[in-house]
C-alpha cells in the first residue's frame, strides 16, 4: 500500500473503498502532515480538524453500512480562503474580512461535500486574489516546497502548495488572470482553469466577475477530470454558469496517442524575455507531443501584447465595484473614524485593505469614471473582443495551443514585491486565455536549476471555448509519456508518516516520486 502523499484522489478513494485504510486514518495522517509542513510553508489560514474527524467517522460508518461511496469519498481537500463554507471563516487573505463566517455554502463546495470530500481547511492567498506571489496576503506569505525561500506563485498559493507538498490530492483555487495556472507551474502540479461559465461562482468571493473561475489543482490529469465532473454543471444560483451537464472526459481509443491532433504554437508565447530554462523545457515538451503523433503548427495571436493592460483595466474596474461592499456596515472589520458614515467607510477601508488592493480599487475607479470610461474601460472591452477573436481564428486550424505558463520559474520572495509592474508581467501568458474565457491547463514539464534547487516549469495547454475535454485529453497523453508530475518536492517526504503501513512502504525506497497510478 502506498503512502498517503503518494496517492492521487482516485487511488486514495479506491484504497478506502477496498478497506486498505479508513477515512479516519486518512484524515489523521493528513493532519499529521499539516502539523509537520504547515509551520515551514504556511499553507492554511485555518484548519477544520474537529469537523474533519467527525465527518471521517461518519463516512466510515456509512461505508460499513454498505453505502456506495461517492467519487471523492474520504478524500481530503483544501479550499482557497475566498470560498464559502457555512460557519467557517473566509477572510480572502484580508484584514477587512477578519472573522467573517459566511451564512451559506458555495454550490461547488456543496458538490465536493456531496461527493464525499472532507474539507481540511482554508488556504492562504494574495488578498482578494490580487497578486502572483502570496506576498499580498495580510497574514504572511506561503512558501514554495521546492525552495522555501521562493514564492509558490499566486494568488491561490496555499492550495497549490497543499497539493504539491502532498497534504491533499485535490485543492481548489480561483483563477482570474492566472491565479491557479501560474502557482501550479511554479509548484510542479496541474492547475486547470475551465471555460468561463463551466463551474458555478455562487459562493466564490468575487474579484473580477467576468473572469473568475473556480479551478482545481491536482497531481494527475484524471484527478482534474474527476474534480471537474464533480464541480461543473448547471446551477440556478449563477446566471453566468452554463446550463449543461457536468463535464465528461474524452475517451479516445488510445489515450497515449495524439494522432490527428493539431497543436498550435503561438510565436508570441515564446518572447525574447522568456527565461532560457523555461523555453528549453517547453520546447522539449513540444517535441514529446510531436512524438506522440500531434502535428505542431506555428500560429499567431497578434493582440497578445495588449492582454496585460487590458486585463488590468477590466479586472480592476470590476474589482472596484465588487469590493465596495466591504464598508464596515454589515460584517467584517469596522473602524469608526470621525463618527460620520462616510468617515466610517473611509477609516474601515483604509485600515482593512492592503496596498495592492487599494491600488487596484483606485485604478478600477479611475477607468470607470465619467470622462475616462471610453478611453479606458470602453476601449479595454474592445481589445478584449479582439483577443477572443485571435483565439477563435487560431482554433479554426488547431485543437489546442501550447506555450509556457509563466515566463520564469519560482522567484525569490521579496524579489518583485516592490515592483507592481514586474509582478503583473507574471500573468503575460495566462491573461489572454482569461480574457477570452477559454480553458487553460498548466502541466508540469520538468525543472530548471537555480541556486542548487530544482524548480518546476509549467506549460499551458489552452483550448477553444467549451473545449475543456480536448485540453485534458492532450494533457493526459503527455502525462502517460512523462514522469515530471510524479516528482515530489524533497520536503514532501520529511513528514513522519503516522500510518505504520505507509511508513514501511515509504522506507522501501520509492523516495521522492509518487506512485500516482498505484
Amino acid at each position: 500500500m502506498s503512502a498517503l502523499h503518494e496517492l492521487d484522489a482516485t487511488a486514495l478513494r479506491n484504497s478506502i473503498q477496498k478497506g486498505e485504510r479508513s477515512v479516519r486514518e486518512t484524515i489523521l495522517e493528513t493532519f499529521a502532515r499539516v502539523d509537520a509542513l504547515d509551520p515551514p510553508l504556511h499553507m492554511f489560514l485555518n484548519t477544520q480538524r474537529g469537523e474533519a474527524l467527525s465527518r471521517a467517522a461518519e463516512l466510515d460508518q456509512r461505508l460499513a453500512a454498505g453505502e456506495r461511496p461517492g467519487p471523492l469519498f474520504g478524500v481530503p481537500v483544501a479550499l482557497k480562503a475566498n470560498m464559502c463554507l457555512a460557519g467557517v471563516e473566509t477572510n480572502c487573505g484580508s484584514r477587512i474580512l477578519g472573522g467573517y463566517r459566511p451564512p451559506y455554502t458555495a454550490t461547488f463546495v456543496q458538490r465536493l461535500l456531496d461527493a464525499g470530500a472532507i474539507v481540511v481547511g482554508m488556504t492562504n492567498m494574495d488578498e482578494f486574489a490580487m497578486g502572483s506571489s502570496s506576498e499580498n496576503s495580510a497574514f504572511g506569505p506561503t512558501r514554495n516546497p521546492w525552495d522555501p525561500s521562493r514564492t509558490p506563485g499566486g494568488s491561490s498559493s496555499g492550495s497549490a502548495v497543499a497539493v504539491a507538498a502532498g497534504i491533499v490530492p485535490i485543492a481548489l483555487g480561483s483563477d482570474t488572470g492566472g491565479s491557479v495556472r501560474q502557482p501550479a507551474a511554479l509548484c510542479g502540479i496541474y492547475g486547470f482553469k475551465p471555460t468561463y461559465g463551466r463551474v458555478s461562482r455562487y459562493g466564490l468571493v468575487a474579484f473580477g466577475s467576468s473572469l473568475d473561475q473556480v479551478s482545481p489543482f491536482a497531481r494527475s490529469v484524471r484527478d482534474i477530470e474527476l474534480a471537474m465532473a464533480v464541480l461543473s454543471g448547471a446551477d440556478e444560483n449563477d446566471s453566468t454558469c452554463f446550463d449543461e451537464p457536468p463535464l465528461q472526459p474524452e475517451q479516445p481509443a488510445d489515450p497515449g496517442s495524439l494522432a490527428g491532433i493539431r497543436i498550435g504554437v503561438p510565436k508570441e508565447y515564446f518572447p525574447a524575455v522568456l527565461a532560457g530554462g523555461v523555453r528549453e523545457r517547453c520546447e522539449a515538451a513540444l517535441a514529446r507531443l510531436s512524438e506522440l503523433g500531434a502535428e505542431l503548427v506555428e500560429v499567431s495571436l497578434p493582440h497578445t501584447d495588449y492582454a496585460i493592460p487590458t486585463y488590468y483595466v477590466v479586472a480592476t474596474a470590476e474589482a472596484s465595484s465588487n469590493l465596495a461592499r466591504y464598508d464596515g456596515v454589515r460584517y467584517g472589520l469596522r473602524v469608526e473614524g470621525d463618527g460620520s458614515l462616510q468617515g466610517m467607510f473611509a477609516a474601515t477601508r483604509e485600515k482593512g485593505f492592503g496596498p495592492e488592493v487599494k491600488r487596484r480599487i483606485l485604478l478600477g475607479t479611475y477607468v470607470l469614471s465619467a470622462g475616462y470610461y471610453d478611453a479606458w474601460y470602453g476601449r479595454a472591452l474592445k481589445v478584449r473582443a479582439l483577443l477572443a477573436r485571435d483565439f477563435e481564428r487560431v482554433f479554426e486550424k488547431v485543437d489546442v495551443v501550447v506555450g509556457p505558463t509563466s515566463p520564469t520559474a519560482a522567484f525569490k520572495l521579496g524579489e518583485k514585491a516592490d515592483d507592481p509592474v514586474a509582478m503583473y508581467l507574471c500573468d503575460i501568458l495566462t491573461t489572454p486565455v482569461s480574457l477570452a474565457g477559454i480553458p487553460g491547463l498548466s502541466v508540469p514539464v520538468g525543472f530548471v536549476e537555480e541556486g542548487g534547487k530544482k524548480l518546476p516549469v509549467g506549460m499551458q495547454i489552452a483550448g477553444p471555448w467549451k473545449g475543456d475535454a480536448r485540453v485534458l485529453r492532450v494533457a493526459r497523453a503527455y502525462e502517460i509519456a512523462s514522469e515530471y508530475h510524479k516528482a515530489a518536492p524533497p520536503m514532501a517526504t520529511l513528514a513522519p508518516p503516522r500510518n505504520p503501513a505507509a511508513a514501511k512502504n515509504a522506507s522501501t525506497g520509492e523516495g521522492a516520486t509518487r506512485g500516482a497510478r498505484a
Partner: protein
Amino acid sequence: MSTTQEKVGIGVVSEKTGVRWIPVIGLEVHCQLDTRTKLFCGCEYRFGAPPNSLTCPRCTGQPGALPVLNREALALAVRTALALGAEVAPWSKFDRKNYFYCDLPKGYQISQYDRPFCTGGGITLPSGKRVRLTRIHLEEDAGKAIHDRGDTTLVDLNRSSVPLIESVTEADLESPQEAYDYLTALKEILQYIGASRCDMEKGELRCDVNVSVHREGEPWGAKVEVKNVNSFRFVQQALEHEIARQIEACESGDPSRYPVQETRLFDGGKGVTRTMRTKESAHDYRYFAEPDLPPVHVDAAFLEKQRSFLPEMPALRRERYQKEMGLSPYDAGVLVADRALADFFEMAARVSKKPKECANWITNEVLRAFAEPEIGVKSVDEMLMKPADLAEMVDLIHRGVIHNNAGRQLLRAMMRTGKPAEVLVEEMGLAQVQDTGQIESWCREALAGKDKIVADVKAGKPNAINALLGPVMKASGGKANPQAVRETLLRLIEKM
C-alpha cells in the same frame, strides 16, 4: 413669495413684471412591482415586517452571493410597457450604479443604464394632452436607513432588492395640475394591470420632479430636480413652490440668485424646497454592465403572452360603459377607478342584462355600505357577495318580488354573508305580499273613517290617495307591493 402670480392660459404671468413664464416639467416615477419575491433573490417582501427578517445572502450583499433575475418582475415590467404603448427592446442589459451608502449592501445598485428594457410610449391625460415617456427601466430598491434613534443609524434590509420600475417622462408637462393628472393616470394604469399597488404611504410609488422656467419664446432655464416628494398633493405643492421660487429668482435681477442646475429636497411640512447638492457635487455612478447577469432577451412569444394578460385600459373602459351600456360619465368614472369594482359590475351586468340598475346599486349602495362599520366590509376584495347575486337582486326588484327598500337590506346581508339572494329573501322574509285578499283587507282597514279622502278622489283628485299608502305599507310591514296597494285602493273607492 407664495402665489403672487396670476395663472392664465399656458404658463404663469408674473404679477410683478407682467412677463409670462413657461414651466417645463418632467417626472421620474419609481413604482414597486407587485411580485411574490424580490428582483434578484427568493425573499418575500412585506411592508412593516420585523427589520431584516426578509433577507438572505443575496439581498444582504454577502461576499460570493450572486443575483438571479426574477422572471415575474420582468413579466410585470413588460406588461407595464405594453400598457403604456412603449416599445420593448428585444434585448436589454443590467448595469451597476456604484455609490456608497449604508442601506446599499453591495455598494452598487443593479439598474439599467444605456439599454433599458423599454423606450417610448406615453399617457393621454383627461384633458387630451399627450405626455410622452422617454424610457422605463427595471432596478432593485435599496434598504432603509433609520436615523432617528439617537446617535446611531440602524439599517433594515427587508426592502433591499425589491423590484422597481422607473419611468421617465419627456419634459412635456406644463403645470402642477398636469403633473397631478399624469400621476393619477399612471397609478390607475399600473393598478389596473396588476403591476403595482402604488400605495404611496408604503413607498410603493415615489416621485422625483424636474422643473425649470423660461420666458415665452426663449431657451429653457436651468433644470432643478426635486426629490422626496411623497404624495400627489406634495408634487403639486412642490411644483407650485418651485415655479414661484424660480420666477422670483429670475426676476430678482441678481445673477447670483438665478436658478442653477441642482438637486433640491422637498420639505412637506413647510411646503418648500431646499438645496441638497449642486451639479459640481453630483455623484459619478461609474455605470458599467453587470457581469453577473447575462443580457435579457424578450422574444415575440413572451411579449404576446404578456399582452394577453393585459386588461382593457381604464380610458377605453369608461368610454365603452357610456357608449354601449348607457351609463352616465359619473357612474362610469366611479366604477372604472377601481378595477375590482368595475370587474364586479361587468359580471353582474352581463348576468342581469340591466347595466344601469347594476351600476346604480354599486355606485350608490355598495360604496355607501363600505363606509358603514356594522357591515365590516371595506372593499370589493373583502366582500362575500357574488356578481350573480347582485344580478339576481336586481331581477327580483324588477319582477316586483321585493321592494327597493328591502333591496337595501338584502344587499348588505349579501355583502356580509355571501348567501344567495333568494335564500336571504326567504330567511329575512323580504318578499312582497302578492295575496290580493290580504292587500284588500289592509286597504279596507285604512279606508275606514276616511270619507274626506274618498270624496276628494271621487272629485277627481287621485293624488289624495297618497295619504293612505303609508298606513297600508305600515300595516304590511313594508312587504305590500305599492302599485298593487294603489290599484286596490282606487278600485275600492270607485265601488263606494
